[in-house]
């Protein structure tokens, strides 16, 4: 179980997270949604240790990890798929998967993890993680890495971004498998209705505070309704 308590984070005079407290129960899929700039990625970075909160604490399975460095958190079982995958000159897809696994993977294992994200190993293993890969390809490799990493709490920051519609179902399979295989808690930051559909719980962030949270069947209908009315209000504005 991961708990965050009274997290505050401000930068350049802007309050990005305002006293956020949350509990992520075990073995659930939790989707965080909310407008652009509402603080979703910041929250994920704070959980992973990439950003330091100004105040508040983070407790993972009873242990206070607020001051723990990134690598220690990773080894404790936290994982994070970045919104924007990082590029590396000279490091190949095979290298990064071996680094993630902390051992030399067999070809068949490499194949399995890549085919789960819809990539053919023969075409990709020796390619470098640089600008020669497309945005969607980098994103798929990022997801394969997290499926491979032995984590019990995994954050995905907009995993569907750049993934084509045809591959959507496989993506969802990955999340469900991860949840079942490893008793993983999966936190997905997403704007996508089809991702919201697989959530056990939904959290709505708005301007750095939690606007709403709860079971999917309670939150989702309201969310869809409000997004429809937003669309409507935009149309009115345009016609003015």
């Amino acid at each position: 179980m991961l708990e965050i308590k009274n997290i505050c984070f401000s930068r350049e005079g802007k309050d990005i997270l305002k006293n956020v407290s949350l509990t992520f129960p075990d073995n659930k899929v939790i989707v965080i949604t909310g407008a652009n700039g509402s603080g979703k990625s910041t929250l994920a970075k704070i959980i992973m240790g990439i950003e330091k909160p100004d105040s508040g604490s983070i407790i993972f399975n009873g242990q206070d990890i607020t001051d723990m460095p990134i690598d220690k958190r990773a080894n404790l079982g936290l994982g994070f798929a970045f919104q924007q995958p990082v590029k590396f000159k000279g490091i190949t897809v095979r290298d990064i998967l071996n680094i993630t696994a902390k051992r030399k993977l067999e070809k068949c294992e490499l194949c399995r993890y890549l085919s789960d994200v819809g990539l053919c190993a023969n075409d990709y293993l020796d390619r470098e993680l640089d600008s020669n890969l497309s945005g969607g390809e980098l994103k798929r490799i990022e997801i394969a890495m997290l499926a491979l990493k032995n984590s019990t709490f995994t954050l995905f920051d907009e995993p569907e971004a750049g993934i084509d519609l045809w591959s959507f179902n496989s993506l969802i399979d990955i999340f469900e498998n991860m949840k079942n295989d490893t008793k993983n808690t999966i936190v997905i930051i997403s704007h996508q209705e089809r991702i919201l559909d697989i959530a056990d719980e939904i959290i709505i962030l708005s301007n750095g505070t939690i606007k709403e949270m709860g079971k999917r069947n309670k939150i989702l209908p309201k969310l869809l309704l409000s997004s429809k009315s937003n669309r409507y209000s935009k149309e009115v504005k345009c016609n003015e």
């Binding site: 990439i50 690598d71 080894n75 590396f88 000159k89 000279g90 190949t92």
Partner: protein, 310 residues
């Protein structure tokens, strides 16, 4: 002088040329402390000592395919200053690999220096892969100096790919590469350098694209650590319809300094020349990504460097 290679020789040969003496095939010429140690020639590849100065002529017959030449140099005698001229004559349509390299084992506090001047005459349609490794070891106060000069003449349709690697133990290096390209010829240079402590490395490329449709691609990747200094100069002259791409990419660490001065001169309307130079520290996000996979900062740094110089 003893002509049997000792254990230090063997280790150095392994590092600079990746050769295992007992299994070495093809043509080779191993030079140690300014003298010939062992030599082998083949029906297609002859190696002849120069009469007027120190050095050898390597003569490769036309149409020679899938053969290789190893010409490593070892310096073990302290205070040695070795200057050598090696000329490569590569016959028409040959396709060969040449592996050179210099390893210094310096147990003294003195300076050991090797200046190799290598000239390649690559005839029409011939294809050469040239690999060069530079390496130093021994006393930490030793000064190991390597100043290689490479001059390349490519005739019509010839091509040469040069890979040079210097990652350890060379106190000071000035490496000069000059090339003159005729029609349809192609030159690829891949250089990898890592300097540490107070080491200095300077590399200069001068390429003249004189023949129509000649092309070159120069890729330099380097890492400068500690207080080391690196300078990269390139000067590409596009004198006709031609193509050039120069990439200089450096990672700077600690208190190191790196300068890159790329110059491209287009002297013809159809010359298409590109240069890119980037110097910076290891990107923070790269370290963060690898740390989020459970690597310590030091391990992450190592993976990034290894990949970069691969």
């Amino acid at each position: 002088m003893n002509n049997t290679p000792n254990t230090v020789d063997k280790k150095i040969l392994k590092v600079v040329s990746n050769i295992d003496l007992s299994k070495l095939k093809g043509a080779y010429n191993i030079r140690k402390d300014g003298k010939l140690l062992v030599r082998n020639t083949t029906p297609n590849i002859d190696i002849v000592s120069k009469k007027d100065k120190d050095g050898i002529d390597i003569i490769i017959k036309e149409n020679t395919k899938n053969e290789s030449v190893h010409i490593p140099v070892i310096l073990e005698k302290e205070g040695m200053n070795d200057l050598v001229y090696n000329d490569f004559h590569i016959g028409e349509n040959a396709d060969v690999t040449i592996i050179a390299g210099c390893g210094i084992h310096n147990e003294s506090h003195k300076t050991s220096e090797h200046d190799g001047i290598h000239t390649f005459y690559v005839k029409k349609g011939a294809k050469v892969k040239y690999i060069e490794n530079h390496y130093g070891e021994g006393n930490e106060n030793a000064k190991n100096v390597l100043n290689p000069t490479t001059v390349i003449y490519l005739e019509e349709g010839a091509s040469l790919e040069m890979e040079s690697l210097q990652i350890q133990g060379v106190t000071s290096t000035i490496r000069v590469t000059k090339a003159y390209l005729k029609e349809d010829s192609n030159l690829v240079i891949k250089e990898k350098i890592m300097t540490a402590e107070a080491q200095e490395a300077k590399t200069e490329f001068y390429v003249e694209l004189n023949g129509e449709n000649s092309s070159t691609h120069v890729i330099s990747r380097s890492i400068a650590k500690d207080e080391s200094k690196q300078e990269f100069y390139s000067n590409i002259q596009g004198n006709t319809k031609c193509f050039a791409h120069v990439e200089c990419d450096a990672i700077i660490m600690d208190k190191a300094k790196v300068s890159a001065i790329p110059r491209i001169d287009a002297n013809d309307i159809n010359a298409n020349l590109v240069h890119e130079a980037a110097i910076g520290k290891i990107a923070g996000e790269q370290l963060i990504k690898l740390m989020s996979l459970g690597l310590t900062e030091k391990q992450a740094e190592k993976e990034i460097i290894n990949g970069f110089l691969k």
